[in-house]
Symmetry: C2
Subunit: 221 residues, 2 copies
């Protein structure tokens, strides 16, 4: 019954219904069905996806029930339709405007990564206080002085702020971004910043992932 209710609610406001773990699995399915398409397939069942990915067929069918696509018994999902719907649902087809704070080593690397654009993230400007980098361009993206952010963002209208500053100023810079109109922060620092409830926060700590990997390696030895 719970599932039925969820599906009914989906129709009106399907974006708000999907739990985060399901949402995180959708890009795996998308990636796999894109591969199948490349290999010439046109249909796929949840059982086939399950064979390749460590998720049960039932779970996959349930996850896919959150997006606006339905499989046919004994035929499965239409691959083209599934790719289209997943790309759209995940937001990869709409361009989201972002700015980046902290054009250090990681920040500059992210500015150089044109791949993000293919997934719907367009970084329009970098901000830093270091005179040696302010005024430069990286991958054709201008780097401005942080003091100019509020003014510049009136024109850029970025919704998303990528945070790659040193951890000890992460909170301060996050507050500053929010004041300037940022609605979502992608935090790459290992610092646990706090944001008001209406602000979206996504933590991606590469260093925490490194630590887990190092720790597991020691265990294996």
């Amino acid at each position: 019954m719970q599932i039925k209710t969820d599906l009914l609610m989906n129709r009106d406001n399907y974006h708000s219904r999907i739990p985060e773990p399901a949402l995180r699995r959708l890009p795996w399915y998308l990636s796999y069905v894109k591969l199948l398409k490349k290999q010439g397939y046109s249909k796929v069942s949840s059982t086939q996806i399950a064979k390749k990915i460590n998720v049960s067929a039932t779970q996959i069918a349930k996850d896919l029930s959150y997006v606006n696509v339905s499989g046919k018994t004994r035929v499965g999902y239409d691959i083209d339709r599934l790719i289209e719907v997943l790309d759209d649902f995940l937001g990869f087809k709409r361009m989201h405007t972002a700015v980046l704070f902290g054009v250090g080593s990681l920040g500059a690397a992210l500015l150089s990564d044109s791949g993000l654009e293919q997934y719907g993230l367009k970084i329009r400007a970098g901000f830093d206080v270091d005179a040696s980098i302010v005024g430069q361009k990286i991958n054709n993206i201008p780097v401005f002085h942080s003091d100019e952010f509020v003014l510049r963002n009136k024109k850029i209208e970025a919704q998303i702020g990528v945070l790659t500053v040193p951890p000890d100023i992460a909170q301060e810079v996050a507050d500053f971004m929010i004041e300037g109109g940022i609605e979502a922060i992608w935090n790459f620092t290992p610092f646990r910043i706090r944001v008001p409830e209406h602000i979206v926060l996504q933590n991606t700590s590469l260093y925490a992932h490194l630590a887990v990997m190092f720790n597991r390696l020691v265990k294996e030895e």
Copy 2:
């Protein structure tokens, strides 16, 4: 009683005892106590850390019980000691040798990010099949043809392989890395690769994180 047992086991083999969620929180504490040190503090209690980070003081004390450090009642933890022990436990102070497969946009960006080295990851070489990049250097790291990997890795002896190839060849390249002696794979592709049980796998899908952020932004609107 459970905690007591864990502590006793810690003494012999503390690396294998810590659950992943606790392990993932340790870098947050490290980052915060480093900030406190910079601000001139020398002692910190779990209650103080809890005030800054969305984790309860009890949980923090429990997490820290996995590492070889103990706080004193009414005084707290010695900050210098805590930094030293956490840096060591998380593996950030030992250099881990890595290679990277797929010197595309994200791969090249990661090679350029010297910050990883500060956290114990030294990427010694990139591998690709694209003639326009093979033979180049990025951030002084040489890029070799993938065919040379097995031979090159006899000298490099990399334990860790960073995977930034296109998703449709992710599995194939992962298998190839493992054949060449790689023990841990840091998978940045959205593809769910499968590895033998003795291989450490860490998935970091920036695109999945983007999708979660985009989805939450839509919800807020």
